[in-house]
């Protein structure tokens, strides 16, 4: 859709008068439009021109915020790992049993992957991400995976679980991406199902209800109905 199609009066910058997308700033609107196009039409098939049209700005305005399409993708992807990375680092620094800490990380991360307007995790498998441009993002995501692995290894040690399972909680969390893609929506209780599953897969046989209560309090969210 062009700016003209927005019913612009010719006074310029109709975007500021008729914001059509979530986002307080032009940058956020560009990210939202790009996320929609990348996840619904494909990264390779989306041009920066098409993104600009979807926001209702000129391409020149878009380039003011992002020099390249890859920069937009990088900003979107980085937004999916920054918070879990911070949380994982905080949780690893805490004392006490590992099981409730891993549970909190798994539920919080699955919630953010379920919660965004667009299924951004589906972009993790793009071949474009293997280029040098995305090495910083790949490194951050690998770091997150490594923090999951360390917390998972601590749980395995606590409950004498199988040593080779330490990568599975990270993978279970990512599975919400596939569920969203297959079902169109992410079932709202899925992060809690995955939280419980991520512990069981490591050999944990303790009470799930205590973990749920603890994680709900920590994250400031509602525990699922029993």
């Amino acid at each position: 859709m062009s700016t003209a199609a927005l019913g612009g009066s010719g006074r310029g910058r109709p975007r500021l008068e008729q914001p059509r997308r979530p986002g307080r700033t032009a940058r956020e609107e560009i990210l939202d439009a790009a996320a929609e196009l990348f996840t619904n039409h494909g990264y390779g098939s989306t041009s920066t021109r098409r993104i600009a049209d979807a926001v209702g700005v000129r391409q020149a305005s878009l380039y003011h915020h992002f020099a390249t399409k890859d920069d937009i993708l990088d900003a979107l992807l980085t937004g999916t790992v920054d918070e879990p990375l911070q949380l994982a680092a905080d949780l690893l620094g805490e004392a006490g049993p590992a099981a409730p800490r891993l549970h909190a990380l798994v539920v919080a991360d699955a919630m953010q992957l379920c919660g965004g307007r667009w299924n951004l995790g589906a972009l993790y498998l793009l071949p474009e991400l293997r280029t040098d441009r995305f090495e910083p993002f790949r490194r951050r995501r690998a770091e997150l995976r490594e923090l999951y692995r360390r917390l998972s290894a601590a749980v395995i040690a606590e409950c004498d679980g199988p040593a080779d399972a330490a990568d599975l909680p990270f993978r279970l969390v990512e599975s919400v991406i596939n569920s969203r893609s297959d079902d169109g929506v992410a079932p709202s209780g899925q992060p809690w199902v995955i939280g419980a599953g991520a512990l069981r897969v490591l050999g944990f046989t303790g009470e799930n209800a205590a973990l749920v209560e603890c994680t709900a309090a920590r994250l400031g969210v509602q525990a699922p109905a029993r």
Copy 2:
């Protein structure tokens, strides 16, 4: 690469004299080339012309085998669900405890997803798959997911596990796609790790070694070193 670049002598059909790809037939060579391009360069960015060039045939020859690029994608994707669907149906029809049957399905399916030359599962998340053209494929994959769910539900019933976990084994199997994408290769023991994890996540606490032995014999594969 054009046919000329193959060092063709001008006698025509150099492909038949210098097959450069796995596959006994032109159709299989086309599928192999397309799989490489789709997974390494992106589906949207790959033209049928580029596929024909990669095989060393004319576009007209390619169209003799596949009318559209979507038809090639459909053939590749269908190839990843046909065998597990057949196996799942066979296993569901068998009598006896569900745990060894689910274990065999999980290990076999993870092996085939790990074993192909290209990481075809990475294409499951393409937005193109949401179009009507791929409805038959989506239905077959949904059918496979449903068979996993039924076998998983039977395991849950056997071991008094958590009822809401029945979708997780299917998701754990798919996680080999992410591992391959992240690591470049699929670790060879991963199907067995996932086989054990898929049972534990359903609440199964029996002996893993017995399942491994039974599955190795059934599939005619080597059990992993203990």
